[in-house]
Amino acid sequence: MKKTNTLIIILAGILCSVACQKILPAAPEDHDLLDGSVQGLNNEQAARFGRGDLTFNNKIFTSETGLGPIFVATSCGSCHPGDGKGHPFTSLTRFGQTDDTGNKFHTQGGPQLQNRALPGYQPETIPPGATFSTFTPPMVTGLGFLDLVSDADILAMAKKNENNIDGIRGQPNWITLPSYIKPKENAIARYDGKYIARFGLKASVYDLLHQTVEALNQDIGITSIYNPIDQWSGQPIEPEILASEVHNLVFYLQTLKAPIQRNPENHTIKAGKSLFKSIGCEGCHRETLKTGTSLITALNKVEFHPYTDLLVHDMGSELDDKYTEGTAKTSEWRTAPLWGLGLVKNSQGGKYFLMHDGRAKSIEEAILLHGGEAKVSRDRYKELPNEDKSQLTAFLESL
């Protein structure tokens, strides 16, 4: 009797330790996730990535740590969940600029609406007479690659479109750099001292530091040494975040891996891909770009596949919200990178909210909303037999 008891206890013990490995589920495949770093970071870089990850996904700002007093959301991760595309709940509203002469509503809270406020404060409202646009948060993966595309390459892509028979044109969005941003090496300035911007849905943000500083300031109400202006009072105040934490965020964004295509060798997906090219989608959604030099091996002089040209294109009247940024026209939007498209549902509550304001509830709806320079390829899409359409969708969902 005693012996059996001891035996049972020993067996149970062994079972427990084996069980840990067995009952607990395995991690999902890397290609099903957006988060995670590029390959080959050294230990120091990996630790820094981890610190940025923590700030991006886990740091929730409160009134004690500087939130607001007027704001849109409480953390980066609330708007870019799992580094993925955001939900309309966290959309931004921008107002007050209709052409390249700049924003006319700076004194009335422009360009960004802070539509939420801490208890005891009043959020902003859109001033009468201002036109506005809604921006759904894009995914933030692979941006380190896009950051390293040279200005010369971007200009070359614009030039290549000059005689495009589908009517595709596209141009870079030029902006005046804020004082805290240094132009990149090999940056190309325009006659009026403006530089090519590439981030954001209108491509009006120069680099990832610029994006991070403005996101902190405008979206969360967090001032930094780079932008110390408090949105509520309009006055400079003490920094509410350490500069080192801002740089960790930037490093995190630089080293987030690019989305990985699933089943690229699948027959249907391959057929979809050639349709994508043959009906002219690739005229804007460029499959392959290349990076310049980087200290991070995985980003140094490599080809990658974001399906964008980083240019803004006239998308027709339906997508014209009469609001713009930089030198882009109100009907112009940056070609949305299509990598990771098949994973956006995972962060949008199992649904699709596509195009800049999330108005398209499916991939097909998104394509049908294309007008302007994309009208020719959209019309070709419409003519496709259903089987081809579903092959194209299968390809897009594999990205």
Partner: protein
């Protein structure tokens, strides 16, 4: 002013009812058996094993809880964790007849957090009218008052009671309570005036409406941020056969609506309702214990829907004693099979932008096996299957855990 009226009426009522009642001192007598059928949840505070110190009127007791845990979320694990959850000491003293004092001091996670969970003076005027004042545990639901580790078959406290309701929730306050028995029936009431919550319930780094956030405010024992009173009211009935059921409410104004005499915000209330029950099925001897609670918070319209206005959640424990027999020198050693099913929704409502349901939910299923050499100690093995879903109702995250723990009174 309504509060005052309420209080006076209840006091008066109790005095009238009470003149006929007999004096029964079990309410504030320490050392009674934890499984006693004549006891109700409200007596849990005093109903703990104590050791008397010589011939003095003072008694000492306490419990500790410690675990080994292996947990994995979506395949990512932090490895083996040895956790010293808490050590709680209690001491009680009969000061003179009908006047008793009990204090409970808890050291959590090593000594990272030290809290006076309870330290109150009880004066028994009659079984139907006892006065209590000091640091009280508010009778919202049953778990808050009856939270000692060794009483439960699970290594973790119920999610909804600790991460939605703030158990263990104690506040400085005063109140009355009482109990009356009629044959197979018993009824009890509790009513307290105390301090309450603050703004942190909607301004915290959990990114959700989170009542336990107020516990971080170390000034709350001296100063109420808005100078208003929270009330906690509970009624319970028990039948010897069918078990006990309780309903309770706790509520008050949580926000700082006035600063230096100037109104700076509307008065915003938090209201909590809870229902709790426990019973033993006679034929199978199965214990069933459960609690469900609803939280309503007046969150400013202009604030973020990230912070919900409605929450709900609860748990049900089913514990089946498998066998009771003599093992070694333990006469009544018991082995139990148990399961706990839990659910919390931290944000019930719909997004203004899309009309879709807001997520921020968790479900958990926790089977386990426990061994009790005596009623005072328990060895537990639990497996936990937990799913949490974010605000946008994205695919839930799965967490699995294997936990082995001990908990014992001493």
């Amino acid at each position: 002013m309504n509060n005052k009226l309420y209080y006076s009426i209840i006091t008066l009522l109790c005095f009238t009812l009470n003149s006929y009642a007999q004096i029964d001192s079990t309410l504030i007598k320490p050392g009674s058996d934890t499984t006693k059928r004549s006891l109700m949840n409200l007596e849990a505070i005093h109903n703990r094993p104590f050791t008397n110190i010589g011939n003095t009127p003072a008694a000492l007791g306490g419990y500790m809880e410690s675990n080994w845990q292996y947990l994995s979320t979506e395949g990512v694990s932090e490895g083996h964790q040895f956790q010293f959850r808490r050590l709680t000491l209690f001491t009680s003293a009969t000061i003179t007849k009908r006047i008793k004092f009990l204090a409970e001091i808890e050291f959590e996670d090593g000594a990272k957090e030290i809290a006076i969970e309870f330290a109150a003076l009880d004066i028994e005027l009659s079984p139907l009218l006892n006065l209590r004042g000091g640091m009280i545990v508010n009778p919202i639901g049953a778990f808050n008052e009856n939270h000692d580790g060794p009483k439960w078959e699970f290594t973790d406290r119920p999610l909804a009671m600790t991460n939605m309701l703030p158990a263990t929730w104690s506040t400085p306050g005063f109140g009355i309570y009482g109990k009356k028995s009629f044959n197979k029936w018993m009824a009890s009431y509790e009513f307290y005036l105390s301090s309450g919550f603050d703004n942190s319930i909607i301004e915290n780094s959990e990114n959700k409406t989170f009542l336990p956030a107020t516990k971080q405010n170390k000034n709350r024992f001296e100063e109420s941020e808005n100078g208003t009173i929270f009330t906690t009211t509970k009624f319970a009935v028990k039948n010897n056969k069918w078990g006990e059921i309780g309903i309770s409410h706790m509520g008050g104004i949580y926000n700082k609506y006035r600063d230096e005499g100037i109104d700076i915000d509307d008065k915003r209330r938090v209201n909590i309702y809870a229902i709790d029950f426990n019973t033993q099925i006679p034929n199978t001897k199965t214990f069933v214990t459960g609690e469900f609670a609803w939280v309503f918070v007046d969150v400013p319209e202009t604030y973020s829907q990230q912070f919900g206005t409605k929450q709900q959640g609860g748990f049900i424990d089913i514990v089946q004693p498998l066998y009771t027999r003599k093992v070694l020198d333990w006469n009544n050693a018991t082995v139990n099979l148990s399961v706990r099913i839990e659910y919390v929704d931290w944000n019930k409502g719909r997004f203004k932008e899309t009309g879709h349901q807001i997520g921020d939910e968790a479900w958990s299923f926790m089977p386990g096996i426990s061994f009790r050499p005596s009623q005072k100690s328990v060895f537990r093995l639990n497996y936990r299957y937990l799913k949490t879903r974010d605000l946008f109702q994205n695919t839930p995250e799965r967490t699995d855990a294997l936990i082995v723990g001990i908990s014992t009174y001493f």
